[in-house]
Amino acid sequence: MKTNVMPLTVASPNKRIKIISLAGGRGMQERLISMGLGPGAEIEVIRKGAPGPFIVAVGEARLAIGAGMAQKIMVSDNGMY
């Protein structure tokens, strides 16, 4: 199956997704990785943002991220789960 890569902002909630890559500059990428949102991380969108923050589950933690950051997280939700 072809892997479908999309920004986190359009991913369906309550579904296991995997981070494929990060867009944005070095500072933004480092920030996301330090929050546990690096390539390879398996996450789940708990709440879709815009308006308001996106809430994502990373392991047992919940992180609130703005739409701008969420737009830079490229994820895939098929072919793997």
């Binding site: 500072g27 480092e30 920030r31 990785i33 330090s34 546990g36 990373v58 933690a61």
Partner: protein
């Protein structure tokens, strides 16, 4: 009597303030960093005749210059050079929390790690080999449950022992013959070091060597840390080197 300055670092929601309060009791007060809305709390406690001052740094995911909090934490560690850094790690989110631990380790300040919320981690069925982790990170690890006040005495002992340059302890509850607080692996085995692999190390090592041979730089900043930051093209690191 000499005052021991200990910086308390950790990612947001790792239970930093709980541990801070556990160690200092009711004696902490709140202060502001000048010109910033981020609080820096300091508190004191006495242990075995020593006065220890804890400086509670803002919770940060990392030590880059991404946010004001990160710059504050980093500047304090870099310029004030606390004797020991107490790193509060959320045991239930170990992988993400270790990201900051690595950066603290690279700054070359002796580390004591509080593996906090161990009850939560164990409740989720996680088993952490503190013994192995301690060996890899070259730091004393104390398992704590901050909200139940568990591990406070052990932390105080670990901080004092690390300050005195003692052996680092290999996990909760172990003791060695020579100092009674560790398993006898001495600090001489070297600081914590991340191996960046065969592609990056050939660039990193000569840079580190060059920086450590410059007396002005090596007196102020850890060469390994500076080399890594320069390689990352970190603007603050460039500025530090440019100033000298």
């Amino acid at each position: 009597m000499k005052e021991i300055i200990v910086a308390v670092a950790g990612q947001p929601n790792s239970g930093k303030s709980t541990i801070f309060n556990m160690l200092t009791g009711a004696r902490q007060h709140v202060a502001n960093y000048p010109g910033v809305t981020v609080e820096k709390r300091t508190g004191k406690y006495s242990y075995k005749g020593n006065t220890v001052t804890l400086v509670d740094l803002p919770g940060t995911y990392s030590l880059t210059s991404y946010s004001q909090e990160e710059r504050i934490a980093r500047d304090f560690l870099l310029h004030e050079r606390p004797a020991v850094v107490l790193d509060i790690v959320d045991a239930a989110n170990l992988e993400r929390n270790l990201y900051l631990t690595f950066q603290l380790g690279e700054m070359g300040i002796p580390l004591v790690i509080a593996l906090n919320m161990m009850d939560v981690a164990e409740g989720r069925g996680l088993k952490i080999d503190t013994f192995k982790l301690s060996e890899l990170l070259r730091a004393t690890i104390v398992a704590t449950v901050g909200k139940k006040g568990k591990g406070g005495k052990e932390l105080k002992e670990a901080i004092l022992n690390t300050y005195k340059g003692g052996h680092f302890r290999m996990g909760y509850g172990d003791a060695c013959e020579s100092c009674g607080a560790c398993l006898g692996i001495s600090r001489e085995k070297g600081h914590f070091r991340v191996d960046y692999g065969e592609k990056l190390e050939p660039i990193l090592r000569p840079l580190e060597k060059m920086l450590s041979e410059d007396p002005k730089i090596s007196a102020r900043y850890p060469a390994r840390w500076l080399a890594i930051k320069l390689m990352e093209n970190d603007s603050e690191a460039h500025r530090l080197v440019g100033l000298l």
